[in-house]
């Protein structure tokens, strides 16, 4: 059990890296990289929400199997569930950890509602992962998000140099950086996720 969990976590980090090989949630990584101070809690929050959405995905896939007519409405239902989860979490934070919530205010909503969280049930269905595997995968994705944001924040520090051509300063160089980095992940046969 733990081996599968660990194996799928490593898989999420390397071959099936959602961010670089799937191109999912890159704007969130960029936002986290621009705020190095709260990067750790941002990644923690995001992996928590990913975990919850993974388990919700399992429940959803069992309740509404693929062949049933309601399958068409499944994404909308799941979006509603994620919204409800976000509201609950926001209420919880405002009640108990008001100070920390004040600090995390700008990133809280974007860590709860983003493409990574919404993609979880789909990944679970397409790659036919069992309960433990999707848990490992969700944790791995959280870790992948944290490493991507950490690497990007250090890279952006280095990309602010004067003798870079004017046109590439700022965002375009970050795009090229991530392009080459996701090419590097190709070595793990992680070319294309979906």
């Amino acid at each position: 059990m733990a081996v599968q969990l660990f194996f799928y976590a490593i898989l999420a980090l390397t071959a099936q890296n959602v961010i670089f090989c799937g191109g999912v949630g890159f704007s969130r990584v960029l936002r986290a990289a621009r705020r190095p101070k709260i990067l750790l809690s941002y990644a923690g929050l995001l992996s928590a929400f990913t975990l919850i959405s993974a388990w919700m995905g399992i429940a959803l896939n069992q309740l509404v199997p693929g062949i049933s007519p309601a399958a068409f409405y499944r994404p909308a239902i799941f979006a509603g569930c994620v919204a409800v989860v976000y509201l609950l979490a926001a209420l919880l934070y405002r009640m108990f950890f008001a100070a920390r919530y004040k600090r995390l205010e700008p990133v809280f909503s974007s860590s709860a509602i983003n493409c990574i969280v919404l993609a979880m049930p789909f990944i679970q269905r397409v790659f036919r992962m069992t309960g433990w595997q999707i848990t490992g995968y969700a944790i791995g994705t959280g870790a992948a998000f944290f490493t991507a944001a950490l690497v990007l924040s250090h890279a952006m520090e280095r990309l602010k140099n004067p003798d870079m051509p004017k046109a590439f300063q700022g965002l375009p160089s970050v795009f090229l950086y991530v392009g080459i980095l996701s090419m590097a992940l190709f070595g793990f046969a992680g070319g294309k996720l979906f």
Partner: protein
Amino acid sequence: MQQLMIQKPPFLRSGQTVSTMMKDMLLALALLLPLPTVHYGTHVLWVAAASVASCFISEIAACMIAKRQVDISELSSVVTGLIIAMLMPPLAPLWLPVLAGAFAVLAARVPFGFTGNNPFNPAAAGVAFVTVFWPQRVFSFSEPSAASVLKEGLKPNQIPSEMLWGTDGGAIGTTAVLVVAACAVYLIVKKTVSWRITVCFLAAAGLMALLFPRIMVTPLTSLKYELLSGSLLFCSVFLITDPVTSPRTHVGKALYGAVAGVLIMLMRRYGAFEQAACFAVLLMNAVSPVIDSFVIAVTARREARRNEQQ
């Protein structure tokens, strides 16, 4: 690059400047050319010339567009061209190194600021780009190379000592193991390359080969096969030790080399291609600033603690 008169001390500078370091690298790379030319014919020289020409011309074009002063004395684009040529197959079509060189300079070097600021090793980025899209062409060696046989989990038919002379299949510069070792010693003695990265890289790769052999042989022969096959040795001397993209602190360099060794062995075992050197180098270049700031944070904390004791 500007030429200035020295106004402030020190008035004596060490003879080693960036251009002498680049000249040493060029000399070491040029030493790698004769053996494959003898073995495979003059097509190898054409591949090298095409790669260097494409890097140089795209560098000049980029300088023209960015309206920067083109400085010839700093030869880093020529070195990138030669490293790319060394990783090409001996009978490669000429457009392959040209495309790799163009991508290396135009995508990995120029947009990030020219010499000192490229986050990725341009040669590794160029070769990786070409490997991703034309794998059959990049790995089209005359006889199947030891790395591809190892990938399938079989024992290569050459015995390790035979592989020293660089007569078996493989990229241009990577098969002549003895010449690469000689270049390594030359560069380390001339202090162009820091020995810490190379030694830790080979130690970590060797350890991984000893502990987790890919083929059913005694660990020692597995070690010999892994180290002598593919472009691992060439990468340990030329690709991974590029000072711009490797960490600055000494401890950081050692850590960087070790993690790179482990990564390259993992990529060889689970990766998509037989030669994973370029991909491992690119991944490690992304992680190198993180290693650096980790080492600096540790020294800062230790220094703060020492200040309290006084």
